[in-house]
Every structure is written in C-alpha cells, then in structure tokens.
C-alpha cells in the first residue's frame, strides 16, 4: 500500500507541475497579453515597455516561469487590478463556495445513482429499467445550461417554488438553502445520468461473475448478494469515476454559477474574463486544477483502500 501511495502521489505532483506549465504558457501566448490588458489598447509603446520592464516580462520565459512558480508556492498569486484585491484573498472568498456546490451535488448524485443503478441492473431489460434508461439518456443528451433553463421554467415560472437567481447568497441560512436549490439540482441531475449509466452496466457485469453463482448456490438470497457483494464491487469502479468526472462537474459549475448568478469561482472567473483580469484567471485555473488533481488522487487512494487488488496491480 505504501508503495502504491507513493507512486500515486509522485504522479499527482508531476501532473500538477505539468498543469502549471500549461497554464503559464497559455497565458503568455495570449495576444495583447497582460500589459495591454492593464494599460488599454491606446497605451504608447513606451508605457508598455516600461510596465513590461517593471513586471519582469522582458526576461526569458523559463526565468519568468521560475519566478512565478516561486511566488505561487509562497502563496502570492498576484494582484487583481480591476477588483483591486490580492488574487489569493479573492480565491479564498470564492473558491470554497464552488467546492461546496460541487461537493453537495456529487454527494446527492451518488446517493441517487447508486441505488438506481443497482435497481436497474437487477431488473435488466424489464419495463421499468427501460423507462429509467430512456429518461437518463435524454437527460444525458441535454447540455447543463438547458437543464438549468428547464428547471427554471418548471420550478420558478410554472410552480414558483425556488428563486431563479442565487445572487442573495450569503445573507442568511434560510435564504441560502432556497437560493442553492436550483443550482444544486442542476448539477446533481447532470451527474446522476452519468453515474447511473455506469453503475447499471457495472452491476450487470458483476451479476454474471462466478462469485455471484457461488453465493447463490450457498443459499444467499438474491437481495443479500446484491446488497453485500455486487454493491461493493460495483462501488469500487464508481469511486474512480468520481475522480474522473470532477473536471466536468467543475466546468458545469461555471455555467450554473453564471446562469444563477451564484458568487463562486466560476462567476469570478467569468467576470474576470470580461474585464481581462489575467492574474485572477491564472490563479483560479491553477487552484481549481490543483483541486481536481487532489480529488483524483483522493479517489485513487480510496479505490486502493476499498479494492485490495489495485495496490498490487499496476
């Protein structure tokens, strides 16, 4: 287990380093770049040159990367000149809200999808299985924004149950719960379709395995085999899926946050892209990607704990 852990952590570290290089290069390849964004398009070449000198942008790229990396590791993510705040304090304010949104939605999605997939796998090709599968496939074929729009129409316009914006978020607990309902529901539904499809086929595969026959032959009821053996084996692979879908869910939260005006990292990012506040863009992408890598690592460690075969393999 220790070897597996070390190897996986080393991989995660290498991945993080690669992420930082990719993000850094993208940002410095952008036409116009950081200086033009700060000074505006009418700045004189001299002013541009002076600021470039000040910001250290005339040094070779690898040197700039090294300086940036050192700053970043010491917690200095630069300054958001449009919002007039250090980027790190913006991130500390907005990013945890996105984590909460994504975390709650994934938790809900798993708690719905796992029993549903188990049910479907057990009743494979019966009428109820077909109905659920068809519904899930239709939901799966809807982009996140469309899901949000449909939910707004149904649960705000037709039946005024929930507010259609979360812009009052942070005022009081009761307001928050109502405000969060539609954003969380949207992200949950988007994930349920994904997990339940996977869970269903995993349950079907497992039901064909020899250990199921053995357990049944020894007198275990079908329900007991499902609940004890098949559930655990199918959960294993769903745990890895959790890590893999994390980036998609975070992407989805950008859409959900901008539709519902929820003040999280996605909205911060979106607004900063409009004002070209590059330091914020860089910081948010970096922190969010780091969180994704960590999430993946966590899912793999969890996988190693629940499934002993993984540790010895690979």
């Amino acid at each position: 287990m220790a070897g597996y852990l070390l190897r996986r952590m080393g991989q995660a570290l290498a991945t993080m380093l690669a992420v930082s290089v990719i993000v850094f290069v993208i940002l410095h390849l952008l036409p116009g770049g950081i200086v033009r964004a700060q000074l505006g398009s009418k700045a004189t070449p001299l002013a541009v040159h002076v600021l470039e000198q000040q910001e250290g942008l005339l040094k070779p790229l690898p040197v700039q990367y090294w300086i940036w990396l050192k700053d970043t590791l010491s917690g200095n993510l630069g300054f958001a000149y449009k919002l007039n705040q250090p980027v790190s304090s913006l991130i500390a304010e907005y990013v945890p809200r996105t984590f909460m949104l994504v975390g709650i939605s994934m938790l809900f999605a798993i708690s719905i999808a796992v029993p549903m997939g188990l049910w479907q796998g057990n009743r494979r090709n019966k009428a109820d299985d077909h109905v659920i599968s068809a519904t899930m496939l239709i939901l799966y074929s809807m982009p996140t924004f469309l899901l949000a729009v449909v939910l707004i129409v149904v649960l705000n316009l037709w039946l005024p149950v929930f507010p259609s914006t979360a812009s009052d978020y942070g005022t009081s607990f009761l307001v928050d719960v109502k405000d969060l309902a539609l954003p969380i529901l949207t992200l949950t539904l988007a994930n349920v379709t994904y997990f339940s499809r996977y869970m269903r086929s995993s349950v079907i595969d497992n039901l064909l395995e020899d250990y199921v026959k053995t357990a049944r032959a020894k007198g275990a009821s079908r329900g007991r085999v499902l609940a004890k053996h098949v559930l655990r084996n199918s959960l294993n692979s769903t745990v890895t899926l959790l890590g893999l879908t994390l980036p998609y869910t975070v992407s989805g939260s950008l859409i959900v946050e901008s539709i519902f005006d929820f003040p999280g990292a996605g909205l911060l990012f979106w607004n900063s892209a409009q004002t070209r506040d590059f330091e914020v863009l860089l910081g948010v992408v970096l922190v969010i990607s780091a969180a994704t890598v960590m999430g993946n690592l966590l899912a793999d460690i969890l996988y190693g704990i629940v499934d002993p075969r993984v540790r010895s393999r690979s």
Binding site: A18, V19, I22, L137, P143, S251
Partner: protein, 305 residues
C-alpha cells in the same frame, strides 16, 4: 490417460480455431446485420439524416434573411410568414435553426475526426514505446484533463474572436485527451496478444506492427469512442454558444439561439426557446444512440473472436 487428454484438448482447440475462422469471414456482413437489427440505432441514423437535410438543404426551400437585424419584426409569434416566429432581433427562427444546424454538424464531425486521429497517434505511441516516454506523454494528458475545459475555453475566447475552425480546434484540443488514454490502454492490451509477439519474433518492423496489427484491433473501440466524441462536441459547442462564446455572425448555433430566447423567458416567447432545445436534444440523443448501437456491434464481434 494424460496423453489422450492432451490430444482431446488439441482437437478441441482446433475446432475452436475453425469456428473462429468462419466467424471472421462472415463478420463484416453480420456486423451490418447486428446493427440493422437494432431499430433504435437505425432510427437514430435516420434522425441524423433528417437533421442534416434540414440544416443544409432547408435554406434552399425556406429563404430567410439571417444577416440583417430587423427591429420592426422582432419577437413575432409563429404565423404563416414565420412558421416558428422571429428572434429578439427580428430574424426568422426556423431559418436560424437551419444555420445553427450547419455549424453544429460541422463542429461535431470535425472534432470527432480530429480528436480521434490525434488521440490514436498519441495513445499508440505512448502505449507501444512505453517506459519514460509513456510516463511523460501520459502526465501531459493527465495535466490537461485536470484543467476544467470551460475555464480554458473562456480564457481563450476572452482574447480571440471565435470562428468555426477555431472552435473546432479548441474543442479538439481537449477532446483528444481521453481518446489517447483509451487507445494507450488498448495498445497495452493488444501488445500482449500472441500474434503480436509472434510477428515481432518474425522481425516485423515497429511501424507495420502498429499500422497492421495494433491499429486495426483498436479500430472498433475507436469508432464507438469517436461517435460519442461527436455528441460531446455538440454539447460543448452549444454551451459555448450559450455563454456568448459561439461563432461570429452571420453564423450561429443552437446554444446562442437559445440564449437569446432565455432573456424573454418571462414573456412567454416559447418559440425562441423550445425549438432550439429540441434540436439540441434530438441531435445529441441520436448520436448517443448511434454510438451505443455501434458499441453493441463491436462488443459482439470481440466476444466471438
């Protein structure tokens, strides 16, 4: 006793090989049969043909002006002049759906092909060469996969005005990653097959090993994956359009059409919302069903051979 057992086994395995040969010979014919038997998948192909004809041939029958904004015609409900009403800028909605369909199908297909091609090359090399090269190539894939895609797209679109080719490039730049991972896994699997080891023993060059043995074995899985990539690309394209990062006018896409309608959601202008929504769902659903149908064919073939 032992000898006879061995003999028995040998004949049994010979029988199996014989059966295999028969299956292989008829497999291309039966693949089509398996697919045609799947009524849902056939229906999906027909639906996609209808969407393609609607988008590319429709404008020949239904002439509309999709370039000029006409403020005297804005938000008109459906009527004989405008079958699906008009948009907030006074453009015919039906014509708009046709134009949106063109870019949608172009982006979907191009991304499917590009990302499959590039993923195939990257994954095969990583899986085949192995060692440090493999580790490096896969860390790049891991890293790029960890950056949530929409953040990356918003970043790019903040500085560059998107066009259809550029959007194809941006979506493909992300879409090939999981294909590469899949192909690498498959390559590792195929590498251990006896016939690959055998032809390596005969001195077959690396290049022909890859193109003649490994690639064909990965092909089925790759076609299924590519189909699902098309569906993903259409979803992403619609989302970008919805965020206002779609293609520059006069081109448009269904996401952008829907976004324009969302502003009138509380006015009850349903024709600006649901037709575009239905086009997105029908198209993506059909591609997904087609992919599932193809997967059945591939899996049945693999199970038999």
């Amino acid at each position: 006793m032992k000898v006879s057992e061995q003999a028995e086994r040998r004949t049994a395995s010979k029988d199996k090989e014989g059966a295999n040969v028969n299956v292989r010979q008829s497999s291309s014919a039966s693949a089509l049969q398996v697919f045609m038997a799947n009524k849902l998948a056939v229906g999906a192909v027909l639906a996609l043909l209808v969407v393609a004809m609607f988008s590319f041939l429709g404008p020949l029958l239904h002439h509309t002006n999709q370039t000029a904004t006409n403020l005297t015609m804005e938000n008109l409900p459906p009527g004989p002049q405008h079958i699906l009403g008009t948009s907030p800028t006074g453009k015919d909605e039906l014509g708009r759906l046709m134009v949106g369909g063109q870019s949608t199908l172009e982006v979907g297909l191009a991304v499917g092909l590009l990302s499959t091609g590039f993923g195939l090359i990257w994954g095969t090399i990583a899986g085949y060469v192995g060692g440090a090269v493999d580790a490096l190539m896969m860390r790049v894939v891991d890293a790029a996969l960890s950056i949530p895609f929409l953040f990356f797209a918003v970043l790019l679109a903040a500085v560059i005005t998107p066009s259809v080719p550029l959007i194809i490039f941006v979506i493909s730049a992300v879409s090939w990653l999981s294909t590469a991972r899949l192909v690498r896994g498959e390559t590792l699997k195929v590498r251990t097959y006896d016939f690959v080891a055998a032809s390596k023993g005969f001195g077959t060059s690396n290049r022909s090993l890859i193109t003649r043995h490994i690639a064909p074995n990965v092909l089925g899985t790759l076609i299924v994956n590519g189909t699902l990539k098309v569906a993903d690309a259409i979803l992403i394209f619609a989302s970008l359009g919805y965020l206002g990062l779609g293609v520059a006018p006069p081109a448009t896409n269904w996401g952008a059409t829907l976004a324009a309608g969302v502003n009138n959601i509380f006015n009850g202008y349903w024709w600006q919302l649901w037709p575009a929504a239905i086009m997105i769902i029908v198209t993506v659903l059909s591609v997904n069903v087609l992919g599932d149908g193809l997967r059945d064919v591939v899996e049945r073939r693999l199970a038999r051979s």
